[in-house]
Symmetry: C2
DNA sequence: CTGAAAGCGCTTACAG
DNA sequence: CTGAAAGCGCTTACAG
């Protein structure tokens, strides 16, 4: 606590002070079995008395490892860290990191650029979520030799990934809606990912889901362009859900069911409907996607598609560690199961 | 993609290939203004064609910086990443990191040891939350010269911190309970932090809150040891809340109000009460702490203490960056405001 | 069991 | 405007 510029002791100081070599000091910390117990004891004592800890930066440079994997945040940090579903995935990743003795680095855009962030990310591997991955980013990672696993990415890209069958899941839940007689339907789609490479022929998750809805609609003689069907866009936040209600009504006053691509948006809508004293599902049904814990807490409880966020995180990070350790080379794709959950927010349509 | 061992090109390769020196290559990336535009162009072109990116590990070692701050996870990763309140704080930290162009490193215990994790954490500063910080950990950080800010730490320790006035907030909400006639009260306390240094005289947040409750009780002629008051312990999770109900009833069948130290626990209890068809608040009132978004989504909506999680994260990380940049030296403590929020889950006691 | 020395891949004061 | 060289603080093959 003196005012003299604190200089952390290095391996060199410990060597000098203890009378052993730098090599010995390193061994004392990393491979004590190679030293006499006397040497280890002496070195550790000196280290302790000088308050020495090996500098991780230097250690990592020698070892060519960061002992951390990265989670790449898409553009807007609000939308990410406010989404319980993403947080569930992060929880899964953290668990695996913990058991691998790795840290988890949350990587926001650097100087507003995801690309910049990826260029200098201090990680041994990277997980992305829900991004239409720019080819540029994939290329950088490839050159930097950093493995990548995409969660909810674009199955059409040649990237290791963890997904559910979004097309089929969306088809299935839309069928439940149609089966109950609804025909005036508002679909709340997630915005196209901002970073989708428009040129390439990438099928993003929102697109796949819309295709699933479309297939179900066709089975009932409808289409996405039918005047009874309207489509709105929304960010994946509670607030956007709350604000969406007026749009929904003005677009299509006769709507009887709102189908969203995200529970948190659906919950925002339900919240607003409660405030407006609109009866769910008697007047309006609402359907979500994700099956958050919150979805069974609100009333009416939300009809939705259950997809295992925790497992997605666990699978993705296990896969990533396999790549990091060189256990596998080929592009592995994991498909996890989903399940349609019918609860009270979806009712029969009463003409 | 050839099978030849991929070796990332280094500054040396670019120097050789471009005909300039390593110094020049470094400048081209970091201080192009010091080079002729011709040199910069040539170097960047070569770098690009060879697929070169500066190695962050080497760069950081030279710069003696990690460009990342750490968030230290207490013992159990489940309890942390499942707690929406903590996640809100992390969101606040992420925002500041983003604007500082830093990453956020989530640090789980290393080989089951927080101490080990702290010894080798590759960060420029550290934020902890709700830990009774072992002196050992503070000492390590001090020796490693890594600044620390504690959120919901122990105001009694000499550590920069961000807290609300937990004693007073707890007093205030307990008064609301007592004012409404409740006398048979079950307090659900958070477990003592596992890492509290038992020897020292540290006042943890749970302890402060209990003292606040106690002060309010005394004002109404009660005490913590009164037979009408019972105290239970719980982890800070939804599941623990759900499971708590049977304990609450068996400990004190005549209980009319449950006062918890955490919304997520209170929400678990409310969920269970709904399943059990127990009328809230007519039969039993429930009170939380935090004011999560979820607390206004459930019905009945939860009476609680609002404390600004996002702001706590923002204040703590701003403070941390001030230390990192050497802008301040002294131990700064920030107290953020709280607010008691009365909602339907707290009713009058009807004898 | 122990140590001298090269290497990890950058940055930067200094000299020209 | 450009470069040779020292330095950041470790690890580790090699020799003894």
């Amino acid at each position: 606590m003196n005012d003299i510029k604190k200089k952390r002791p290095t391996i060199k100081d410990i060597a000098k002070e203890s009378g052993y070599s730098k090599t010995a000091v390193s061994f004392a910390f990393n491979e004590p079995s190679r030293l006499s117990s006397e040497a280890v004891k002496k070195i550790l004592e000196t280290a302790n008395s000088l308050g020495y800890f090996p500098n991780p930066l230097a250690r990592n440079l020698s070892l060519q490892k960061h002992f951390s994997i990265g989670f790449l945040l898409p553009q807007n940090i609000n939308h990410t860290m406010n989404n319980p579903y993403i947080l569930k995935v992060i929880e899964g990743i953290s668990k695996v990191c913990e058991s691998e003795n790795y840290t988890l680095t949350i990587i926001p855009p650097l100087r507003s650029s995801i690309e910049e962030a990826v260029k200098s990310a201090a990680v041994d591997g990277l997980i992305t979520m829900g991004m239409g991955l720019e080819n540029k980013i994939v290329e950088i990672l490839d050159k930097r030799n950093i493995p990548l696993v995409a969660i909810d990415g674009n199955p059409s890209q040649n990237i290791p990934s963890v997904n559910i069958d979004d097309e089929r899941a969306s088809h299935d839940i839309m069928c439940e809606v149609l089966k109950r007689g609804h025909r005036n339907i508002t679909i709340v789609s997630l915005s196209e990912d901002l970073f989708t490479d428009k040129i390439s022929n990438i099928k993003t998750v929102p697109l796949l889901r819309r295709q699933g809805y479309e297939r179900a609609l066709k089975e009932y003689g409808l289409s996405l362009t039918d005047e009874r069907i309207s489509i709105l866009l929304s960010e994946c936040t509670f607030e956007d859900g709350v604000n969406l209600y007026s749009q929904i009504i003005s677009q299509q006053p006769s709507v009887s069911c709102v189908v969203t691509m995200s529970d948190i948006v659906a919950i925002g809508i339900l919240y607003k409907l409660r405030v407006e004293k609109i009866d769910v599902p008697a007047t309006l049904s609402v359907v979500g996607f994700d099956n958050l814990l919150e979805s069974k807490l609100i009333s009416p409880r939300l009809t939705t598609v259950d997809q295992p966020g925790l497992d997605k995180g666990i699978f993705a990070s296990n896969l990533l560690f396999d790549y990091i350790k060189g256990k596998i080379e080929n592009t592995t794709r994991i498909e996890v199961p989903y399940k349609v959950i019918i609860r009270e927010s979806l009712g029969e349509f009463n003409a």
